[in-house]
Amino acid sequence: MSVAVVPAVQAQASLPSTRELSRRRAISRFRWSILGPLIALLVFVLMPVLFLQLYFSLHQWTVYLGTWWDAEYVGLELFQEVLTDPRFGWAVVRSLSFATGSTIGCFVIGFALAYLMYKPFRGQAFYYIIFILPMLTVPVVVAYTAEMMLYQSGPLNDLITRIIGIEFKPAWLTNPHIALPTVMLLEIWNWAPFSFIIMLAGLSAIPKEPIEAAEILGASKWRIFWGVQLPLLRPVIFLALVLRFLEAMAEFPKTWALLQGGPGTATETLPVYIFLTTWQYFQISKGAAMSYIVMLLMVVIVLFAIRLLRREKRSLDTMYEKAAARQQELA
C-alpha cells in the first residue's frame, strides 16, 4: 500500500497547489486528532508510574514507617544492594536459562510439527485444531492442571511407568533440581503452538517456484531444506524466537501459581523474585530498584529485538516487492 502513496506525495512536493496544501493540512489535523489522545494517555498513565518507580528506587521506604512521600533519600544505595544480592544474580541466571530453554524447546517442536504439516494431507485440520489447544488454555489453569498431574504418584508418572515398564517416579514439583525444568516443560507445552502456527504460516507462505526448481535440478529434500527453505524462512524464525524469548522472560503466572519460587529458591525467576520482594517482604524500595534494573535490561533486549525484526521485515518487504515486480513483467 505504501508504494502507492509515495509517488503521490513526491508529486505534491514539487508543485504544491492551494488545494494540495489544504489537503495536507487536513491530513495533519487528522493525524494529530488520532495521535494526540494516544500520547496524552501514555503521558498521563506511564509517566507518573515511571517517575514513582525512580523515586522509590532512590528513597528507602519502609511500609509501616511513615508515608511514602517523606521516605529517606539514599541515592544509589538500593541499586548497590540489589546488584550485590546473590539471590538477584541467581534470579537473572534462572530467568535467562528458563527463557532460553523454553524458547528453544518451543521452536524445535513447533518447527518440526509445522514442517510435517505445511503440505495438505488428510487430517490436517484436525491436527491443527488439537495442536493449538494448549495455547488457548489460561496459564493459571495450566499451573493447576499440572499440579493435578505431576504429584509423585500422579497420572503422568503412572502412565510413563506403564509404558516403559520401569518404575519412573521423579518428584516433578518438589525436587529442587528438576522444579525449574518442570516449569520449562509446562511453558513449552503451553507455547509450542505459538511457534507452530508462526512457522506453519511461514512455511506455507514460501513461494513454490524456487523449491520446484531445486527439485527439478535433483536436489535432495535435505538440501532443499537447508539451501532454499531455511534462508527464506529466516525472518519468520527470528520472529518466533524473539517473541517467545521476551514472553518467557516475563513468565509469571505458571511459576507463581505452581511453586511461588519454591522449593527453596529453585524456581525463583526475576518476576517471581521481584514479586516476593515487593508484595511478601514489603521491601517496596528494593523491589523498585530491582524493577528498574530489570526494566533497563529488558529495554536493551527489546530494542535489540526490534532492530532485528525491522531489518528482517525490510528484507522480506523487498523480497515480496521484487517478486511482485517480476510477476508484473511477466504479465
Partner: protein, 291 residues
C-alpha cells in the same frame, strides 16, 4: 527402496509423530476435564483414576452455583464468587478489548493510508507489550490507589487497553492494508470526511478482521494474571484470580473444584481461539507472515 514405498513410509512416520504430539497436547486437557467430573475420592487416588466413575456434576454445581447439597464437609467452598468473577472478567475483557480494537483500528487506518506513525514508531509501540508488566506493577498500584482506581474495573480496563493496543494496531493494519484504496478515494472525492470514511467505509469492509482482532485480544486479556492479581485484590477479581484463591486453602487439595472452575474459564477461550484459528498467525506476526 522404491520411491513410492519411501513416500508411504514417510507418510506413516508423519502420522505417528503427529499422533504422539496429539497425545502430549491433549492429555493435560483431558485430565483437567475428567477431574472436573470426578467425585472427591478419585481426585488424587492411587492408582490414578483415568475415567471418572461414576461421573458427577457435583463439582460444577458446587463451584458455579454454590449448591450446598453437593458440598461435602471436608471440601466445602460454597459461595457464588465464581459467577461474580465471570461477570467481572466478561465486562473487563470485553470493554478493554473493544476500546483497544476501536482505537487501534483508527490508528491502523492512519498508519496504513497516511503514515501517521513511521515504521520505527510502530515497532516502538510494541514496547508497551514487550516490557514485562512486573517491572511497573508496584508503582502502578500506588499511582492507582492515589487516583482511586485500585480495585476498580476502570483501572484494570485502562491498563489492559494500553497493553493490548500494540497488537490491535498491528493486526488491524494488516487487514486494512489489504483493502483497495479506490473506494475510499471515491468517497473522498464525493466529499466525505476522513472520519466518515473510516467509520462508514473502511471499518465495515474489514468486519471479519475486526472480529478476528477482537477475539485475539480477548484471549490475551481474558487470561491475564499478574496485573489482575495486583490491581484487583478483592472487589473485582477476575476468573484467573478466583481460580488461584482455591489453592492453599485450609481444606487441602480441592482438585475437582479447581478443575470445574478451570474448565469454565477455558471453554470461552477455546471457542474464541477456534473461531479465529486461521488468523492467529497474523495476530502474532506483525506483518512478517504473508499469505
Amino acid at each position: 527402496m522404491r520411491k513410492s514405498q519411501r513416500r508411504r513410509l514417510s507418510a506413516v512416520l508423519r502420522y505417528v509423530v503427529l499422533s504422539m504430539w496429539t497425545l502430549v497436547a491433549f492429555f493435560p486437557i483431558y485430565w483437567m476435564v475428567s477431574t472436573s467430573f470426578k467425585p472427591d475420592t478419585q481426585w488424587f487416588a492411587w492408582p490414578p483414576v483415568y475415567f471418572p466413575d461414576p461421573p458427577t456434576l457435583s463439582n460444577y454445581l458446587n463451584v458455579w452455583l454454590g449448591a450446598e447439597e453437593y458440598t461435602t464437609t471436608q471440601y466445602s467452598i460454597s459461595s457464588q464468587k465464581p459467577l461474580i468473577s465471570l461477570g467481572n472478567s466478561t465486562i473487563i475483557a470485553s470493554i478493554s478489548t473493544f476500546l483497544a480494537v476501536l482505537f487501534g483500528s483508527i490508528i491502523a487506518y492512519g498508519v496504513s493510508r497516511y503514515r501517521i506513525l513511521s515504521e520505527v514508531r510502530m515497532f516502538q509501540l510494541l514496547m508497551l507489550r514487550m516490557i514485562p508488566p512486573i517491572v511497573v506493577v508496584a508503582p502502578l498500584s500506588l499511582y492507582y490507589s492515589a487516583l482511586g482506581l485500585l480495585d476498580t474495573m476502570t483501572g484494570l480496563i485502562l491498563i489492559y487497553f494500553i497493553t493490548s493496543l500494540p497488537y490491535a494496531v498491528w493486526m488491524m493494519k494488516s487487514f486494512i492494508d489489504e483493502v483497495p484504496r479506490e473506494i475510499e478515494q471515491a468517497a473522498e472525492i464525493l466529499g466525505a470526511s476522513r472520519w466518515r470514511t473510516v467509520f462508514e467505509i473502511v471499518l465495515p469492509l474489514v468486519r471479519s478482521g475486526l472480529v478476528a482482532t477482537f477475539l485475539f485480544i480477548l484471549i490475551l486479556t481474558w487470561s491475564e494474571y499478574l496485573l489482575a492479581l495486583i490491581i484487583t485484590k478483592t472487589q473485582v477479581a477476575t476468573l484467573p484470580i478466583e481460580l488461584s484463591k482455591y489453592q492453599g486453602s485450609t481444606e487441602g487439595r480441592v482438585y475437582g473444584r479447581q478443575a470445574a472452575l478451570a474448565v469454565g474459564i477455558t471453554i470461552p477461550l477455546m471457542i474464541a481461539g477456534l473461531i479465529i484459528r486461521k488468523h492467529l498467525a497474523r495476530g502474532f506476526s506483525f506483518g512478517m507472515v504473508r499469505r
